[in-house]
């Protein structure tokens, strides 16, 4: 059984013009001790999804349907105080910008001790030892616990955020674009720290990212989101080598190859649909080079074969589509409305 299974989750932002369906039917699962990559372009709902699982949405955000079953309990059905018990102890979070995620006027030690003592129930001495141990684990000198966040570099702040996230031995860590704000070399270092700790501590992790290279480097499984929906998911190798959804095919060509093979990068033209009034058919149809009439009229159902899930009407023609998708001309021919 999975540690976390998200079933048809819907998250809406209430606006004056009506609800914006930021997440509109997301389904995926995370097994204990594995890393799931949650990938998609800006505005596809992946960060919202991460925050919804934590149960800390912005004021206008509401979970409008679906379930989030974590360690056998549906988080959506819990009361706020029950959810608060789980937060950070079983389920923690690494934010995108560690810059603002740390309190600027408190030393790192105070921020570590706060979590370890208030949430972990440790005595001060034990908490101090644990804080030093956590800093060593992420490759920071415990002396730096006496520093303020602004005295840290971006990479160090992100390491400190990881140390904070691991403080109470959670079962699952959600990392929201943890390396996006860092330069490439530091990205690699931070990813290595995360991967190393994940396997040593047998953590499960959701790695939210827009970067296919990060997914290929760090993840076991991947879920590809488009316009609030998970359009394809499965083991990383399987999905990256034999993508079934045209959007995934496009994404794999839109990023430099992880192993440094220089192919031509091909953009996916256009931008995601307005989630205030999402289209009735497949949400990717307007940008898809293989869209047919049916795609525009009816949303494709999710089909699972083995461990590989996809929501595309033409999934059975995937080998042929992949061949066509490899050619830049195919994508250049799409003129989005």
């Amino acid at each position: 059984m999975s540690l976390l299974s998200v079933e048809n989750l819907q998250v809406h932002y209430l606006t004056g013009a009506g609800p914006v369906r930021a997440v509109d039917g997301a389904t995926f699962a995370v097994a204990a001790g594995s890393i799931l990559g949650l990938v998609g372009e800006s505005g596809c709902g992946k960060s919202t999804l991460g925050r919804a699982i934590m149960g800390v949405l912005p004021d206008a955000g509401r979970i409008a349907g679906g379930s989030v079953v974590f360690e056998g309990r549906d988080l959506v059905a819990l009361t706020e105080s029950q959810r608060r018990e789980i937060r950070w102890r079983r389920l923690s979070f690494i934010p995108q910008t560690a810059m603002n995620a740390l309190d600027p006027v408190q030393r790192l030690r105070a921020q570590m001790l706060e979590v370890l003592m208030e949430r972990g129930g440790l005595a001060r001495a034990a908490a101090n030892d644990r804080a030093a141990e956590l800093f060593r684990m992420v490759g920071l000198d415990p002396v730096r616990l006496a520093d303020y966040p602004h005295q840290f570099s971006g990479g160090m702040r992100q390491r400190a955020s990881i140390a904070l996230a691991l403080a109470l031995n959670p079962a699952l860590v959600i990392a929201d674009e943890p390396v996006t704000a860092l330069d490439v070399i530091v990205q690699r270092q931070v990813l290595d720290v995360m991967r190393d700790l994940q396997s040593r501590l047998n953590l499960a992790m959701i790695l939210v990212t827009h970067d296919m290279a990060v997914v290929a480097y760090a993840c076991d499984r991947v879920a590809v989101m488009y316009a609030g929906i998970v359009v394809e998911s499965g083991p990383v190798r399987e999905v990256l080598e034999r993508p079934l959804h045209p959007y995934t095919m496009g994404l794999t060509h839109a990023f430099p190859d992880v192993h440094g093979e220089t192919g031509e990068l091909v953009p996916i033209e256009g931008s995601p649909p307005n989630l205030l009034h999402p289209p009735t058919g497949c949400r990717f149809a307007a940008r898809c080079p293989f869209a047919q009439t049916r795609c525009h009229e009816q949303a494709p159902p999710a089909v699972t074969e083995g461990e590989h899930m996809v929501a595309c009407w033409r999934a059975d023609e995937a080998p042929a589509l992949r061949k066509a998708a490899a050619s830049p001309a195919t994508w250049a021919a799409v003129v989005p409305a």
Partner: protein, 331 residues
């Protein structure tokens, strides 16, 4: 912040303070000597003959060239000698030393209450954002903040002193009794009864700024990523609000407090006059009315020194409270 970095900052700000005080005292010196009108006329009777007049001018040193007068003035200032009052024939420094504690007590009491109330109410209102209470509380805070002090003071006087007779109408002690030393005043219930109305007027007048400032910064801080993270950590509401949000939102309010303290010493003129409170403001008003130039000059100097000092304190407080200030470049 590192200790040596902070000490260096203190030394630097103290240097600026000395410079500021020197400039203001110099400007005050020039102001009083270049003003139209002859200060000696207030002191000298027109019935004096020319000879007596010249002799008196010489005794004040007013026959010497300006630069020499300036040097004497600065020398006296450094020794704490502010001259002698024309009207009361006592040293100005003594007049001010008597009045200053009253002003400081009034200001500190009023400002502390106003800020304690403003901070708590402002933080509370930040949490009530968009609810009905906002529609009442914010206009109320704004209205009392905008109402002229003398008008507020007179309303309170009319209601609580004249109509109901709960409080004395003015002064710091009952007529005829002696003011006594600072300790005597602070332990005397009569003194506090006299303090009540002027302090209340000031509290009403001063509470708006910390209240609105606290509310605004609190709303801003509550949207910060580290507050979202504090919620994700499952911290108690108390920890989130007090340790993270209020701690960060307080920074500008603390600065405003120190500045307000400095400004109030000079700015209490209106309230001290309405309630006949024997403070620096009232001394200044009486000196101006009576053309008592040495006293007016001394009061100006005192007020500007206090103001400059409190500005320095505000600077240093901010540096002590916010680790990001001034250390960035020094590390």
């Amino acid at each position: 912040m590192s200790r040596s970095g902070f000490l260096r900052l203190v030394a630097e700000r103290l240097g600026f303070l000395v410079l500021t005080v020197w400039i203001t005292t110099t400007v005050t010196f020039l102001l009083f000597r270049l003003m139209p009108g002859d200060p000696t006329l207030a002191y000298l009777s027109p019935t004096f003959n020319e000879e007596t007049r010249t002799a008196l001018l010489r005794s004040f040193g007013l026959d010497k060239p300006l630069w020499e007068q300036y040097l004497i003035y600065m020398g006296n200032l450094l020794q704490g000698d502010l001259g002698t009052s024309f009207l009361q024939r006592v040293p100005v420094s003594q007049l001010l030393a008597d009045a200053l504690p009253n002003t400081i007590i009034l200001t500190l009491v009023a400002l502390s209450i106003a800020y304690a109330f403003g901070i708590v109410a402002g933080a509370f209102l930040a949490f009530q954002r968009g609810r009905g209470i906002e529609g009442f509380a914010i206009p109320a805070a704004l209205a009392t903040r905008s109402a002229p002090e003398f008008w507020l003071g007179m309303l309170l006087l009319a209601g609580l002193a004249f109509q109901l007779g709960w409080f004395p109408t003015g002064g710091a002690v009952p007529p005829g009794s002696n003011l006594g030393g600072v300790v005597d005043r602070l332990t005397s219930p009569e003194f506090w009864r006299h303090l009540f109305l002027p302090a209340l007027t000031l509290v009403l007048y001063l509470q708006g700024l910390p209240l609105l400032l606290m509310r605004a910064t609190m709303l801003e801080v509550m949207n910060d990523e580290f507050i979202v993270m504090a919620r994700m950590k499952g911290l108690s509401r108390w920890s989130i609000v007090m340790r993270h949000a209020a701690r960060n939102a307080l920074l500008p309010v603390v600065t405003a407090f120190a500045l307000g303290l400095g400004a109030s010493v000079g700015g209490n003129v209106v309230v001290e006059t309405v309630f006949a409170w024997p403070g620096v403001g009232r001394v200044l008003v009486q000196a101006v009315q009576g053309a008592d130039y040495p006293v007016a000059q001394g009061a100006f100097i005192l007020i500007s020194v206090v103001l400059a000092t409190m500005n320095t304190v505000a600077d240093l407080l901010y540096a002590a409270l916010d680790p990001r200030v001034s250390v960035g470049a020094r590390r």
